[in-house]
């Protein structure tokens, strides 16, 4: 299968501090790729470079190439890139002044969609894909913030999916959720890869083992090893990887 996203010697800085160095990595289409590593290894920074969110931080900088279907995303308008590569954040951030419906429709409205029927259909489909439809179908006009933590996160997923991105980036999406909510989202990720390419950052190795075909291990800003998840966990090539997986440091 073709590489959906390809990064080429990508490095990123926060001001003078180099956060990630020379990352060359492929993310396959219609598959789930996980990025794991200890706190501070740069995995969040990496994923934020993929949809050009890193540069929204003052004094932040990126070097190297990131290609989406062969196109350099830094040559395209940032707004376009972010629509094609969606993101879900660690803490769910629905718009509290908007209803559930309006939250999901927000991205579509930004792009000029006004037709009520098309919006209804898109909202329905996105909420179904996010496995939230059954729970909210009778209360679409309630505030986005009135849901539970897990539901809010699925709402954010629906909101991101509504603009039909090609890739969905997930930055530790279950970090703030309980095991039941986490399981629901992991099931949903499994279904999503039919239509989307998913990249998930997680500090939970078992989660990576559960959902991802490919896993990349990062440490102190460097890419240490990447490979099929099974192989990485059972027969890691680098000693550093093995130390992390066996829990020698965390």
């Amino acid at each position: 299968m073709a590489a959906k996203i390809h990064t080429e010697t990508m490095s990123a800085w926060y001001g003078p501090k180099k956060a990630i160095e020379d990352i060359t990595l492929d993310f396959e289409e219609h598959a789930v790729s996980a990025i794991i590593g200890p706190s501070g290894c740069g995995k969040s920074t990496l994923i934020r470079c993929l949809n050009r969110m890193h540069e929204t931080i003052p004094k932040a900088r990126v070097e190297g190439k990131v290609l989406l279907n062969g196109e350099d995303i830094y040559a395209l308008p940032a707004v376009t890139v972010r629509r094609r590569i969606g993101m879900v954040f660690q803490k769910a951030n629905p718009f509290p002044t908007m209803s559930i419906y309006e939250n999901v429709a927000a991205g579509l409205r930004l792009n000029g969609e006004r037709n009520r029927d098309r919006l209804d259909a898109a909202v329905l489909e996105s909420l179904k894909q996010a496995a939230l439809w059954d729970e909210v179908k009778d209360s679409l006009e309630k505030s986005g913030a009135s849901l539970s933590g897990g539901q809010q996160q699925r709402l954010c997923i629906a909101r991101a999916l509504a603009v039909r991105p090609e890739v969905l980036l997930m930055d530790e999406p279950c970090a703030a959720l309980d095991p039941i909510a986490t399981a629901k989202i992991e099931d949903l990720i499994f279904d999503l890869k039919k239509d989307y390419t998913v990249v998930i950052v997680t500090h939970n190795m078992q989660q990576a083992a559960r959902v991802a075909e490919t896993t990349a291990f990062m440490y102190l800003g460097h890419l240490i090893e990447v490979g099929p998840t099974r192989e990485l966990f059972e027969r890691p090539k680098e000693t550093l990887t093995e130390s992390y997986i066996t829990g020698r440091f965390g």
């Binding site: 949809n51 969110m53 929204t56 003052p58 707004v79 376009t80 890139v81 972010r82 629509r83 094609r84 969606g86 993101m87 954040f89 803490k91 951030n93 629905p94 718009f95 509290p96 002044t97 908007m98 927000a106 991205g107 930004l110 792009n111 954010c156 909101r159 991101a160 603009v163």
Partner: protein
């Protein structure tokens, strides 16, 4: 013991507030007794017998000039707040904030002086004739523009309330958590769309409170208005006509009051003004209180 002392002082300050209310009520009592509620509906001010005093023309003038102040002041204040909170390069933020605050440091009487000798002539020669040329068919723009009128007073008031509204709005915008902006940006929103969608909506209670606070300031402003509004006791539709506000009327007539009833009526006017200002400010505080509380809860 020190606690007792400072508590006593604090209560004393509240006692001062009580004293203010009592003294003003006492002084206005004659007028209140004489005119009753008719004071608020009467529109004559007759200092010679038969004595008749009504507040309507002044309330009208206050409302008109305050409305003008909000009309011009609010968009500019919001623009400033958005610029300083969302758009400005970091090195420009602090000095620019400081400079906008400087607008608030200028005494009202100096604004009035500038209004008489700088803004007024500009209004009379350049601005008002142009407006009359284009919109002269509308009754609010008719009359003879001489530069000293409700319009000029409204513009000066707008300038004076900009620091208040923009500073409080800016606080409200800064209180919006970054994750809201990130959510909008990650959907592919432009900077302005992010501000509109995620920031302004979230902060709308605070912005509304800021506007009400600005209104409260405009209503009580005296000197700059007195010096630029023309002080003619008449209700007229045209913005280019002279007028008066509660504050300007008191300022101009207090020392000229010959009959004690007129003095009492002027003081009653002052009470009306105080009440207006009070209600407006309590309303503003309610709006802002909700914002402050929600900010703490969401964190």
């Amino acid at each position: 013991m020190f606690q007792w002392f400072s508590t006593a002082v604090a209560f004393g300050v509240i006692g001062l507030l009580v004293l203010i209310t009592v003294i003003l009520a006492l002084a206005a009592e004659q007028s209140i007794r004489t005119f009753g509620l008719g004071f608020l509906t009467g529109n004559v001010w007759n200092p010679v017998p038969p004595l008749a005093f009504g507040a309507v023309p002044f309330v009208y003038g206050t409302l008109v000039t305050s409305a003008l102040a909000l009309l011009f002041g609010v968009p500019i204040s919001l623009g400033i707040a958005i610029f300083l909170s969302e758009l400005s390069p970091p090195w420009l933020r602090v000095p620019l904030t400081y400079v906008v605050e400087l607008l608030a440091a200028v005494p009202s009487v100096v604004y009035g002086l500038w209004g008489i000798f700088v803004l007024g002539p500009v209004m009379r020669v350049s601005v008002e004739p142009v407006i009359q040329n284009i919109f002269g068919s509308l009754p609010i723009f008719q009359g003879n523009p001489i530069g000293t009128d409700k319009f000029t007073a409204g513009v000066i008031l707008a300038i004076m309330i900009i620091p208040t509204i923009s500073a409080v709005s800016r606080e409200a915008l800064l209180a919006v958590p970054d994750n809201q902006r990130e959510a909008a940006l990650s959907l592919g929103a432009t900077r302005w769309e992010t501000t509109r969608l995620a920031v302004l909506r979230y902060a709308r209670a605070g912005i509304f409170g800021a506007i009400i606070l600005g209104l409260g300031r405009a209503v009580g402003e005296t000197m700059a208005v007195t010096m630029t509004i023309g002080n003619r006791n008449a209700i007229s539709i045209s913005l280019f006509d002279q007028g008066q506000t509660i504050a300007s009327w008191i300022a101009n007539n207090f020392l000229n009051a010959t009959d004690p009833l007129e003095l009492s009526a002027l003081i009653e006017l002052g009470l009306v003004l105080m009440l207006m200002s009070l209600v407006i400010n309590i309303f503003a505080r309610l709006m802002l209180g909700r914002v402050l509380r929600r900010g703490e809860g969401a964190a």
